[in-house]
C-alpha cells in the first residue's frame, strides 16, 4: 500500500504540515486517499499513475463512478497538540478521522501513529493499538444501550480481561473526572444528551489513551450544553495533554479549541494553520466565507497586525500593549486613553456622554 514511489506531486503545504525539530510526530498522514466504490484500490493506483495532480486523479475517479471522499491528505499532529479538522457535511472530515483510527482502511497513502504505519498493521496489532493507545468519542455517543453508565465506561477494560472490581474502580475515577458521579447505575436512555456525551468521553479515556479522536462530539447538543462541555473538555485536556484529532463543522468551536486547524472541502485539505492564520490569512474565498461571521478580535493577537516600529516617534501615551493580547483587549486598552465624549440629538442638543472604553467593552464577546 506504500505509494511513495508513485507520488509525483509535492504536497503544497509543506512548510505548515511538517513539524519542526527531530521528534517523531504523534500522527503523520501522507497522501491519504479514501475512495468508495467497486475495486477502489486498483482504480486509485491506476488514476495516480496516469495523472500528475491529485485533482486530475480525483476527477478521473469520479468519472468512473467512484467517490474520492478523501483526496491526498497530508499533515502531522504533534504530541499533545489539539488538531481540529473542520469542514461542512460531506467534506470528508468524518471519513478522514475514520481512516486515521482505522475504522476504514485507507485506500492509499500512509498513516503513522508514533511512527508505526497503521495502514499496514495486522488485525491483531490493531486490536492491541486500540486497547492501549487510541480512544474515540462519537457524534451520537455510540453508547451500548444494554449497559449501565459504569459498564459502558468500563467496557474497554472488560475486553482486555481486566477483573471486574478493578475495572469498575478505574471507571469510577473517569466518571468523576467528567462530572457524572452518582449516575453510575443509570442506563444511557435515562440520561440527557450532555450526560450521554460525558459517558462517551469517559469511556474513551478509561484505557489511558495517548491519541484521542473526537468525531463532532458536541454537534448533537444544544448551544448552552455545548459551551459547557467545550470548557470542561479544555480543562480535561489541560490535565491530560493527550494528542487530539477533533472533528467539527462549527468554526467558532474550532477557533476556541484548536492549536491548529485543517479546513477540508470536497475531500481536500485546503488550509492548515493556527486559528489566527485561518481568520486573518484565509487562502481562498471558501475559508474566508467561514471566518466571515467570526469576531476576529477574539482570535487574533496584537502580533498579527504589528509592524516594525524603529522609525516612529512616540507620545506620552502608552496603553501598555503586549504581543500576545487579543485585538479586543488591545483596543480596550487604547480606548482608555480617551476622555468621555458627548452624545447629541439630531439638532445638536447634548443628551449625555460616553466613555470610549465602555464602547470597546460593550463590543467584546465575553471569553469563557
Amino acid at each position: 500500500m506504500r505509494t511513495s514511489g508513485a507520488r509525483l506531486s509535492t504536497p503544497p503545504l509543506t512548510e505548515l504540515t511538517q513539524v519542526s525539530g527531530s521528534e517523531t510526530p504523534a500522527i503523520t498522514c501522507r497522501n491519504v486517499w479514501q475512495v468508495f466504490g467497486n475495486n477502489a484500490d486498483s482504480a486509485l493506483k491506476e488514476a495516480l499513475s496516469r495523472h500528475e495532480t491529485p485533482e486530475a486523479a480525483a476527477q478521473d475517479l469520479r468519472g468512473k463512478g467512484l467517490i474520492p471522499a478523501v483526496q491526498d491528505a497530508s499533515f502531522d499532529v504533534k504530541e499533545g497538540e489539539l488538531f481540529v479538522i473542520m469542514g461542512l457535511s460531506g467534506s470528508g472530515k468524518s471519513t478522514l478521522i475514520r481512516c486515521i483510527s482505522h475504522l476504514l482502511h485507507a485506500t492509499g497513502g500512509e498513516i503513522r501513529i508514533d511512527g508505526e504505519n497503521i495502514v499496514e498493521a495486522s488485525p491483531k496489532r490493531l486490536i492491541e493499538l486500540r486497547r492501549k493507545k487510541l480512544g474515540m468519542v462519537f457524534q451520537h455517543f455510540g453508547l451500548f444501550p444494554h449497559m449501565t453508565v459504569a459498564e459502558n465506561v468500563a467496557y474497554p477494560l472488560r475486553v482486555q480481561g481486566v477483573k471486574k472490581k478493578q475495572r469498575l474502580a478505574k471507571a469510577q475515577e473517569v466518571i468523576e473526572l467528567v462530572g457524572l458521579g452518582g449516575r453510575e447505575k443509570n442506563f444511557p436512555r435515562e440520561l440527557s444528551g450532555g450526560q450521554r456525551q460525558r459517558v462517551g468521553i469517559a469511556r474513551s479515556l478509561v484505557a489511558d489513551c495517548s491519541v484521542w479522536f473526537l468525531d463532532e462530539p458536541f454537534s448533537a447538543l444544544d448551544p448552552l450544553i455545548r459551551r459547557q462541555l467545550q470548557d470542561e473538555f479544555l480543562e480535561i485536556q489541560a490535565k491530560l495533554r493527550t494528542t487530539i484529532v477533533f472533528i467539527t463543522h462549527d468554526i467558532n468551536e474550532a477557533l476556541k479549541l484548536a492549536d491548529r486547524i485543517a479546513i477540508m472541502r470536497d475531500g481536500k485539505v485546503v488550509q492548515i494553520g493556527t486559528p489566527a492564520d485561518i481568520v486573518l490569512r484565509p487562502v481562498d474565498d471558501y475559508v474566508r466565507e467561514f471566518s466571515k461571521d467570526v469576531a476576529k478580535g477574539q482570535h487574533a493577537h496584537v502580533s498579527s497586525v504589528m509592524q516594525p516600529g524603529e522609525h516612529h516617534v512616540y507620545g506620552a501615551d502608552d496603553p501598555g500593549l503586549r504581543q500576545d493580547m487579543t485585538l479586543d483587549a488591545a483596543l480596550a486598552r487604547c480606548m482608555e486613553l480617551y476622555e468621555p465624549v458627548p452624545v447629541r440629538t439630531d439638532d445638536g442638543k447634548l443628551v449625555g456622554v460616553v466613555n470610549p472604553a465602555d464602547l470597546a467593552a460593550a463590543l467584546q464577546v465575553e471569553q469563557g
Partner: protein, 678 residues
Amino acid sequence: MAGLSKGSIAALIAAAVGALCLALESSAPWLVKFPAAWVLPATDWVGAFMEWFLALIKPTARAFSALMFYPMEAANYVLSHTPWPLVICATTALAWTLGGVRMALMAVVGLGFVLASGYWPESMNTLALVAVSVPLALIIGGGIGILANEFPKIRQPVQAVLDIMQTVPTFAYLTPLLVLFGFGPVVGLIASAIYAAPPMARNVLLGLERVEPEIKEAAIMAGGTRLQQLFQCEIPSAGQQIMVGVNQCLMAALSMVIIAAVIGGFDDIGWEVLLTMRKAQFGQSLLAGLVIVIFAILIDRMSGTLTQDRRDMHDARIAWGIVALGVVVSAAFWGSIQQPGAYGLFNPVADSVDRGLSSFTSANAEFLTALKNNVLFYVLLPMRIGLDQAVLPFTWGFAWTPMMSAALFAAGAAAGVVFALRGRVALGVMLLIAAGMLETGISQLPWPFVLVGAGALAWVAGGRNLSVLTVVLLGTILLSGLWERALLSLYLSGAAVFACALMGGAIGLASAVSPGVWRVVRPVCDMLQTIPLFVFLIPVLMVFQIGEFSAFLAIIAYAIVPMIRYTRHGLVSTPDEMIEAATASGATTWQMLKDIRAPYAAPSILLGLNQTILYAFAMLVIAALIGTTGLGQSIYLALGQADVGLGISAGAAMAILALIADRMVQGFAEERRKALGL
C-alpha cells in the same frame, strides 16, 4: 403508441392476446386448453429425483430422528408427570415476572380453563413438541442470521431462501419429511423447527443490520475482538428485534405443531381438533380449538413483553412465592390430585353447543342455504367458470345466450371507450379485459392470455426482469401439468383477496376515521392474528359444512386482518405538517382524506394487500382439509399418499403463485413510495 403510458401499452397487449384467443377458440382449441400431450412429466421427475435424494440422506435423517426422540420424550415426560398445580403455578410465576398482575391473571385463568376442559394431557403433549422444536429453531435461525450478517456475500441468497421458505405452504414441508422420518411426532417436530427458523433468522439479521454504526465503531475502538464485538455489543443492542424473532418463532412453531397433527401419531391437541371435527362433534372441537387459542394467546403475550422497550421489573420474590405455593399444594394433595385429563367441566357445555348448533342450523337452514347458494351461484361460480357456463336456468333462472355475451362485451367496450376518451386508456382497456374474464371464468382462461397478461402486469410493476421471471415461472407450472389446479387456486384465493380488499379496506377506513370503531376492531384483529390457522376451520365448518364456501369464509377470516391494519395505519400516519398545511389551506375532513391521507397511505395499503395475498395462499392449503379444489387439495392428497413428487411440485407451484403476486404488489408499492419521495 407514442403517447401511451406503460400501463396502457401493457393493457392493450393483454387485451389483444385475449381477444385473439377468444376468436380462435373454435379453430384452435389448444389455445384455450393446454394440450395434455405437451405436458412434461415434471411431477414424476421431481418425485424420482426426490426419492433418490431422500433415500440418500434417509439413514442420517433416521439417526437424527432417533436422536431427537430422547429430548422429546424427556420434555414429554417432564410436562405430563409434573403435577398440574405446579405447572400452573410455575407458568403464573413466569407470567408475573414478565408482565405483572394482568399477565399472571391471564395465565391462571387460561390454564384453569385448559384443566377444566379435560384437554390437559393433550395440551402438554403439544407443548412438549413446541418445547423441543423452538430451541432447535432458535439455534438454527439465530445461526443463519448471524452468519448472514458476518458474510455480506451470502446475505442476498439467504434472504432469497428465507423468502421462498415463507411462501412454500406448510403442508408441502410435511410430505418429504414424512418419507424421511417416517410417521410419528418427530416429523411434526422437524417441520415446526424448519417452519419456525426463518422468522428468527430474518429478525436476527434485521436487528444486527440496524445496530447504530457508531455502536459498532465504539465496540471496535474499545479494542474488542470480532467475537467480543458481536456477543457483547451488537447482539445485546439488537435485543429487541431479536426478541421479536423469538416471539414469531414461538408462534410459528405452535402453529406448525398443530398442523402437523394431520399426519397423526401423537396424541396432541391438534389431533383432538381434527378427530372431533371428523366425527362432527363440533362442541368438543370448538372446546379443543379454544384450548389452542388460549395457548397461542398466552405464549404470544408473554413472549411479547420481551420485545417491549422498557419493561417494569416485577418482584422476583412474589414469583418464587407462587412457585413455592405450587410445590406445597402438589405435595399436600399428592394422593388426591385428580388425573388432569379426568376433568370434563365443559362437556355439558360442548354437548349443548352441539344441540344448539343443530337446532340453529335446522331452524335457519333456509337462510343459511340461501346465503351459501347466493354467494356460490352469483359470485364464486361465475368467477370460476364464467358467466357463459354459470348462468343456467337452474341457478340464475335463465340461460346465457350469445346475445348476452355480445351485450357484456359491448358494455365493457363502451365503458372502455368512455374512459379512454377521458385519457385513462389503461383503465378503459382493463375494464374490457375484466368483462372478458367474467365471461370466460378464471379457471378457463386461455393460457396464452394468462402468460401474456401476467407478464405485462409484471412489466408495469417491476420492469423487464420481473416480467421475464413471471413468464418463466408460470411457464414451468404450465409445462408441469398443474396448470388447471393452479388456476383453480388462483380463482379461490383471488376471490377471497378481492373480498378481503373490499371489506378490509372499508373496515380499515372506518377504523381510521373513528377511534371508537378501532377500539372494537383492534382486539378482534389481535385475536385473529394469534389464532393458529387450523382453528379457523371449526366455526365455518360448524355452520356451513364441508365445501368451497366454507373454505372461502375461512380464508377471508384469516387474510382480512393485514388489510385492515395496514389501511388504517397508512391513513392515520400522515405527517402532522401535511395535515396542518391542508387544514391551513381550508380542506374539509373529506377532502383531507381523499386528497392528502389516501395518496400518502397508498404504499402502506398496497403492502397490506400484499400480506393479505400471502395469508390467503397460506390458508388456502389448510382449507384443503375442508374441501377445496386446486393445488391445496393436491398437496393434501400427496401427504396422504406420501407422494413426494406431487407434494413438492404442487407446493412449488403454490410458492410460485405467491412469489409472483408478492413481487408485483411490492413493485407497485415501491413505485408509489418513490413517487411520494419516501
